[in-house]
């Protein structure tokens, strides 16, 4: 059978290594009205990239904030690094969150701080020596190709540059999980590709598990059908018909999870909503 986008074999990992980094069990949440998310269950395994698709306003950002404990579910449980966080006090959540890198929709850079202080925010709180901070910030900015912005303020950066600085801020402490909230939303195609290449670089070079929210199918498919070539320093397409085995999809419709599977499953889904979304 000729199957387009057949997954290559996933890297072999033991069952303990595959223990989920994040797991949602029957999670629901509402804000003064009908549920925004209703009975959501899924998990993110180590080294796995899960792409959360869905139209605007369907609860994708809410789901991402739940994963980091920034919001609390009304029902269900959420496990982050194996710890139940849905009822965890805020004070206990702070150390757990330092292990997670999060990229917000508009970057959410602190506008009163320079790029250096934004990227080094966590390191400054941990009282890391200034020389060490400068070295690590420059390395993180080099990763996103924005070294020249070191001493600039966010107000002097373009939308795409702000997003890349936010990615550098999320990457600097080598997080164990990355959460991307529409990192390419509202950006031009060229800048979007740059951002997606950075996401791919983090996925393929450091194997960091991630949950990426987007409503742009093109970005999602690029992530699935390309890999980052460290030697060439750019992304290259996978051989015809192959996809990244650790990149899978979730889709939300009116607060409910209606799809959980690979690109192949997505393209062959019978769901009318999925079909409509893909078209």
């Amino acid at each position: 059978m000729n199957v387009p986008f057949a997954s290559t074999q996933p890297a072999s990992l033991s069952s303990t290594d595959r223990a989920p980094v994040v797991a949602f069990h029957n999670v629901s949440i509402a804000f003064d009205g009908p549920p925004v998310l209703d009975d959501i269950s899924f998990s993110v395994a180590p080294a796995e990239t899960r792409i959360l698709l869905g139209p605007a306003g369907v609860g994708k950002s809410v789901l991402l904030k739940l994963a980091n404990g920034l919001l609390r579910p009304d029902e269900g449980s959420i496990l982050l690094f194996g710890e139940e966080i849905s009822h965890m006090p805020e004070q206990k959540l702070f150390p757990l969150r330092t292990r997670v890198g999060m990229v917000f929709q508009e970057g959410a850079l602190f506008d009163s701080l320079t790029v250096r202080d934004n990227v080094a925010y966590q390191l400054i709180q941990e009282r890391v020596p200034d020389d060490e901070i400068d070295r690590r910030v420059k390395k993180a900015l080099r990763f996103v190709e924005l070294e020249e912005t070191f001493s600039l303020f966010p107000s002097s950066l373009s939308g795409g540059m702000r997003r890349r600085v936010a990615i550098a801020r999320a990457f600097i402490r080598k997080p164990e999980l990355l959460l991307y909230d529409s990192p390419t939303g509202g950006l031009d195609p060229v800048t979007s590709t740059t951002i997606i290449e950075l996401v791919m670089k983090e996925r393929d070079v450091y194997r960091t598990p991630s949950l990426l929210v987007t409503h742009r199918l093109q970005d999602a498919f690029t992530l699935c059908t390309h890999r980052f070539d460290a030697e060439q320093g750019r992304m290259v397409p996978l051989p015809q018909g192959e996809t990244d085995p650790n990149t899978t999809f979730l889709m939300l419709e009116e607060g409910r999870l209606i799809f959980d599977g690979s690109l192949h499953d997505l393209l062959h889904s019978e769901s009318p909503f999925v079909r409509e979304f893909l078209e």
Binding site: R97, V100, Q125
Partner: protein
């Protein structure tokens, strides 16, 4: 049997519903504010503390408000001297103008006016600054980076405001006395030495205590109310504007209300001779 007309019942029910909703909203706001203010205060006694933020906020509140406090104090003292001299002259008692200005400024007008001036300037700036951070997800980003915004943003503002309002009130009192003195000497053509000696002689420790206890409460109210409305901002830039208005209005009203309660308590503790 008389029956309620069909069109009245829904209107009554609607009114009751609205009242119930408003009452619940007020109770909820008071409850949330109490928890917020308590947490912000108790944070000072546990690690981590952000002393650089405390110093920055002290500079913004203290040095930044000094000019308006100084001017409002000076002219309030001047007005008090003008008004009191006009009234006291009817009884041939213009000599006690200094006493009148001194007691009124130090006990009451110095602390209250300073509180209201600083509330107008700083409760609004705190609400709008924190509100903008909320709507641009900077507060969420801070939490996501493992930093508690209550400790980093709210607690330093509260303690900076309390400590700076204490000193600003002293500045307002001093310039109020100077303003009264200037009016007494240059406009009322009275003896300056007599004015200042009367102003000094009449003061007792309970007057000073009364005048310096109030700004501690006002400072706490200004920063906690400003930060509270800033941190619960919703609805984008329009929401920021709404939070700013609510912060200034509620802080000002609370300052006057607490001033009344404190005056009542302090007068009971230190009865006038």
């Amino acid at each position: 049997m008389l029956r309620t007309p069909f069109f009245c019942k829904p209107v009554n029910l609607m009114a009751i519903d609205t009242l119930e909703r408003t009452a619940k909203q007020i109770v909820l706001t008071v409850q949330e504010y109490s928890l917020f203010a308590y947490r912000a205060f108790t944070n000072l006694f546990t690690e981590p503390r952000y002393w650089p933020e405390f110093l920055v906020q002290s500079d913004i509140v203290g040095f930044g408000s000094a000019s308006i406090v100084l001017l409002s104090g000076f002219f309030t003292g001047g007005v008090l001297a003008l008004q009191s001299a006009a009234t006291l002259s009817q009884f041939g008692a213009t000599a006690v103008t200094g006493q009148f200005v001194s007691i009124t400024m130090i006990r009451e007008l110095g602390p209250v006016l300073t509180g209201i001036m600083v509330a107008g300037r700083n409760a609004s700036s705190m609400a709008s600054e924190l509100g903008s951070m909320v709507v641009t997800e900077q507060i969420d980003a801070m939490r996501a980076l493992g930093v508690d915004p209550m400790r980093k943003l709210v607690t330093p503002r509260i303690f900076a405001c309390i400590s700076m309002l204490f000193f600003l009130t002293i500045v307002a009192d001093a310039f109020g006395l100077l303003g009264g003195g200037a009016v007494t000497v240059f406009l009322n053509h009275q003896d300056g030495t007599q004015y200042f000696s009367k102003a000094w002689e009449c003061l007792r420790y309970p007057d000073i205590i009364q005048g310096l206890v109030k700004p501690l409460f006002s400072g706490y109210i200004i920063a906690s109310v400003g930060c509270f409305y800033g941190m619960r901002t919703t609805g984008g830039t329009q929401g920021v504007g709404r939070s700013t208005i609510q912060a200034v209005v509620n802080a000002s009203v609370l300052i006057i209300l607490v001033d009344f309660l404190l005056t009542r308590t302090l007068l009971a503790l230190f009865p006038p001779l």
